[in-house]
Amino acid sequence: MPGESSTPVRLPAGHVETHTGQQQGRATPGRSVEAGLDALDTASVARPRRRPWHVLVHSVLPPVVFLAALVGVWQLVHAAGLKPSYALPSPTDVATTFWETVTDGRAAEAIWTSVSRGGVGFALSLVIGTLLGLAMWASTWLRAAIGPIVSGLQSLPSVAWVPAAIIWFQLTDAAIYTVVLLGAVPSIANGLLTGFKQVPPLFDRVGRVLGLGGLGRIRLVLLPAALPGYLGGLRQGWAFAWRSLMAAELITYSPSLGQGLGQLLNIGRELSQMSLVITSITLILLVGVAIELLVFAPLERGVLRRRGLTVDR
């Protein structure tokens, strides 16, 4: 009864679609429109480890090209004389100021002051925001009572808190942290709640079936399930914390508090020294990019990869 009925037959060219292991079809012209999208799709297939030049071409080159283009445009605009150079200094002016700020140690001091404040403030916000989020999740009453207010707080500008914080905590670090907390806590709590809301109910039911209590379900099921969304909330929370910190630093200056990036920016503005303003903005941006690249991007990549969500696209 058994019989091999599979006689290989020649395939007519052009009538079949071919997928080969060598991925040579990838470079075919005419596919380039979709290539960007498609190149991202084949997750979870073993691929050769990225070689150094590959990393260079795909990770280092693009931002460098982009920045070079940006500086080029800036130089062109400057050269065209659209704006007087005291309004828009040339890239070289800014580079000089930047270099001075770095070499005389002000940059390092300002970054250290701000980052350490930001770190402490964010760590506090993380704890408080997470606890608040959990409490709001656990108690419908609490959610109804303060849910909209917490969301509303997110949209209160940090400057609004500065007078209150100064009155209560004077010109101390406590005042600065208050402003940072009020900026970041609602965002983190809301991020956690949003993450929780998107957890498929099946997971919660699994937890209940397995006999986990309310707290066990939160710890072992809900929190890990909401992790990707929660991470998004943390990233935004950091942004809020950092911006609130800058706002607080702009307003409160005291020799005893040390000089942060916000104060550096403010000095630039006070002295109408555009190159210092641009230098401070660049420093603030650099810190933001560094935090993103060193903290959030790897965290997110790890979480997504672990649960088989496409990372490679």
């Binding site: 009864m1 058994p2 019989g3 091999e4 009925s5 599979s6 006689t7 290989p8 037959v9 020649r10 395939l11 007519p12 060219a13 052009g14 009538h15 079949v16 679609e17 071919t18 997928h19 080969t20 292991g21 991925q23 079809g25 075919t28 005419g30 596919r31 979709e34 498609d38 799709d41 084949t42 979870s44 297939v45 073993a46």
Partner: protein
């Protein structure tokens, strides 16, 4: 890659026009697939050819690589080595899980498959209602996936796969969650659609009787690594009853072989 449009030289001729005499519908040559560099490959040198209009059933132990092979046929992954040729612009694939989009209703899920076919709205609605009727889900088209039972979801997925109207139909345990009666009805429908539209079907199942009930050819895969180890041509005439003695006899033979194959590798 799924949207590759004939990467080989002469781009003439509609892909749908591949006739029986034109060559195989599916050709897999020396395909290997591994997911991590350390372990043994999941597929190792799979060769398989399916003629146009053929109904092929794929059997094998759980975890032997059947779904992996279907993914390769559907163009959802690239093989680590070897070539996969499919004579269809876009083979239609029914996933092992229902894979419905949760924000669309049952009808919406089916209609989504009709969109790339360029149908108008009203036509889509009509066609999706017809297909849902076909899978015995009349009047359920407004329900969302989370409001459907497991078997109902699977049937929506079946309707969606049929909606694509592709000449090559890949099905991964499509009737696993259905009761015997509903399944019988759908067996009949599937055989009818297959023979009237001259589809090429690759059908994965664990139900040996079901395989014999439906297929022209039954292929057995070994596991770790996945290879094609045995084939049976089913020469019974359609329609066959799943409980008929002819089906039973071949099913018993195949089961014995499956048993031997699995005991050789699995444990």
């Amino acid at each position: 890659m799924s949207t590759v449009t004939a990467s080989t030289s002469s781009g003439a001729g509609g892909l749908r026009s591949v006739g029986a005499e034109a060559g195989p519908s599916v050709r897999v040559q020396g395909v290997c697939q591994s997911f991590d560099r350390m372990g043994p490959p999941v597929l190792d040198g799979v060769d398989l050819t399916v003629a146009p209009g053929e109904f092929l059933c794929l059997l094998g132990a759980s975890g032997c690589g059947k779904s992996t092979l279907l993914n390769l046929l559907a163009g959802l992954a690239e093989p680590t080595a070897g070539t996969v040729d499919v004579a269809a612009d876009r083979p239609s694939l029914m996933f092992q899980e229902p894979a419905l989009l949760p924000w669309l209703t049952a009808g919406g899920n089916v209609e989504l498959a009709l969109k790339p076919r360029g149908m108008r709205r009203a036509q889509r609605r009509e066609e999706s209602a017809r297909l849902l009727r076909l899978v015995n889900l009349e009047g359920q088209s407004g329900k969302r996936p989370h409001e459907l039972s497991g078997g109902m979801r699977q049937r929506v997925a079946l309707a969606r796969a049929l909606a694509q109207d592709s000449p090559v139909l890949l099905m991964d345990e499509p009737f696993a969650a259905l009761d015997a009666i509903t399944r019988d009805v759908l067996h009949e429908e599937l055989v009818r659609v297959w023979s009237t539209q001259r589809l090429t079907v690759v059908f994965v199942t664990h139900n040996v009787r079901e395989a014999v009930r439906l297929a022209q050819r039954v292929v057995l895969m070994s596991s770790r690594p996945g290879r094609i180890v045995r084939e049976w041509a089913v020469e019974l005439s359609q329609p066959r009853a799943i409980e008929s003695p002819g089906v039973g006899a071949l099913a018993t033979e195949i089961t014995t072989e499956l048993h031997r194959e699995i005991s050789r590798h699995a444990r």
